[in-house]
Amino acid sequence: MPEDDARAAADPTSPVEYARLRELRRIVAGPVADDLDRLRERVENPATRARDVGGVLPDAVKLSAGRGEQLGESLAPIVGSAIRVSVRKDAREFGEALFPVMGPAIRKAIAESIRGTIQSFNQAMENSLSVQGLKWRFEAWRTGRPFGEVVLLHSLVFRVEQALLIHRETGLLIQHVAADEAVTQDADLVSGMLTAIRDFVHDSFGAGRGESLDAFRVGELVVWVEQTADLVLALVIRGTPPEEVRVVQRETVESLQVRIGEAAVKYDGEQARFAAVRPDLVDCLRSQYAKKSGTRAPVYAWVVVALVMLGLAAWIFFAARDNARWRGFVSRLRAEPGLVVTAAGRHGSGFVVSGLRDPLAREPDSLLARSGIKPGRVRQQWQSYSSAEPVFVTTRARRLLEPPDGVSLAAEAGRLSLAGAVGHAWLAAARPKFDYLPGVDRVVTDSLLDIDLSRRVAAVESAVVRFPLGSTRPTARGQAELARQYGLVRQVLALAAEVGARVQLEVVGHTDQSGLEEKNVTLSRDRAAFVRDRLVAAGVDSSQVAAQGVATAQPLGDEATEDGRALNRSVTVRVNVTGVKVSPGQ
């Protein structure tokens, strides 16, 4: 059936046709057909395919890593997920795997933390030294600079002057920033030399892996170095930086490692490509001026002000107290009898007083001792003089005159009054001294009883010169009595003269009551005149003698008896003495 055959040949799905085609391919393709079969099997068989991929994967990854970050980005979530799964599965195993890395890192972090704490403690200790502020003030005073300027110079706690980002492997500088006022050297050479020195120190002291020279100090400068796998960040710092700077430094270099680490691995020395990191480095250029001086200055100021005020108050108090004591002392000196203050005032830190002093006056030192002022602070200049104060006048008079006991002395306005009873001899001896009594112009003795004179006066006054009846001539007894009286009068006059007393004699004539009164009056006058005349004739100054007749007015005896009447026919003499007292009753 050619028609059927033709139909079968046209249908490729027919077994006949398929067999034909296979035969045809075998003839045309030959051995290649077997290869295609094997390839198909490898492509379609998962086990074979996995084996093939595994064989080329390492090389594929290596090639892909060389092309850029695409592979890393693709793998990142898978690796992260794998780590999470691994941790969930067996955290301990994961921890052990990480320990060699984490252990040193944790130890280093703890060491840094402790070092920071110690440094903070050191700073705290340093800050508590309050003497520094005073030293700065002294320096400002010594150098003549404003205090604020000195504080600024000294209060620079730290200033990060330079930051160098260095390629760790080559020591080549990646970027460098410096503070405006910082003095810098060629940063390319510095970064290289810094790397060399760190290598040198590391090699020389046999430091372990991961350990390196991370800080050194030169004078006021300290260089801190922090490093990551590919980067080194060095900070040149003036002063004493706080640990926070280290933290900032570490965070900066770690952050840069993440951002530019991969690029840095293949650093070709073209710094311009890394200009973007400059802001990070600039951020490290921190500085701090100590506020302590600013805050402490007022404290000092207050303390100083308080001390000054206290000192001033104390000075005022003591000065006022001294002045009060001084015024009290001077016023007591002025009030003291026998002391005349002519000048008183301050002399340096002490006092000076000058004036006149009666030797009898109280010692000024005794007053000073009670004043509360130290004797050494007072200079005294006293000149001797005699005070007219009554107490001194009487004291001096008593010393000079040495009166008997019972004699009182009173002085007033240059007049010295004596009172009491004294023997005539003392008075007569004392009288010449009256002119030499200091401060005494006149001595009054009117109240001074001259005992001896007083007796003589009494004797004179007790004498009675009798007269016969009606006669103006004394009886014989009267004559004798008259003679005795005259002697007594002379004694009185003599004694009175010796003591400066004045004597006035008053001759009084008497009669009895017989006869006429008028005649008696005349008779009594005549009798008195007779006696007066006899006294004058005997030498008594007539001016000292007066005579009067009192007739019967002042009878001496009892008129009823003869003796009485005979006594009444008489003359008596009254003695008036001025200048001294002659009668105790006066």
């Binding site: 080559t170 080549l172 290598d199 590391h202 090699d203 070709d268 020395g269 073209e270």
Partner: protein
């Protein structure tokens, strides 16, 4: 115009004239004392190249002696090596191979240049052809220089700079 910084290590035996060689041509802020103390002194040389400038930060490393060896860490990360020998001292030339091997261990990607110094005393050189052949094996240029006359010095810096970029 780009400016590229490159680390260059200058190496060679003791007293081959490394420091004298570059003293007049480089900028440094450090004294020669550094070499005997720290074992290295840094210098800087800016060289123009086609693409801009290459700033060569030169680590002038103290010559190796029997008493003091080179700090290997100084060699790390070098982009260029300037190996110097004294043409009048065969031993210094012989040492170059060892020094090169040492440097390449630390900086496998570094390129380099060999300088036979003291060219002004070339008449006294005692280098045999075998030695010169061995030097050329490394595919690094070999230049003759003289610190005394300045011969070849600038050229050496220029050549190394071009090799590095």
């Amino acid at each position: 115009m780009s400016v590229t910084h490159k680390k260059v290590c200058m190496l060679g035996s003791f007293a081959v004239g490394k420091t004298s060689l570059v003293r007049r041509y480089v900028h440094s802020i450090f004294s020669d004392k550094y070499q005997t103390t720290v074992g290295v002194k840094l210098e800087k040389k800016t060289v123009p190249v086609d693409s801009g400038e290459v700033v060569m930060v030169i680590w002038d490393i103290y010559g190796e002696t029997e008493f003091q060896s080179i700090h290997r860490s100084y060699l790390r990360g070098a982009a260029g090596l300037m190996l110097v020998a004294d043409g009048t001292r065969q031993s210094s030339v012989d040492a170059l191979a060892g020094i090169r091997a040492l440097a390449l261990e630390e900086s496998p990607n570094a390129t380099g240049i060999l300088l036979l110094n003291k060219a002004d005393l070339a008449t006294e050189w005692r280098l045999n052809s075998e030695t010169e052949r061995k030097l050329a094996e490394g595919n690094w240029p070999v230049l003759r220089t003289s610190a005394k006359t300045g011969e070849g010095v600038e050229e050496a810096f220029l050549a190394l700079a071009r090799q590095m970029v």
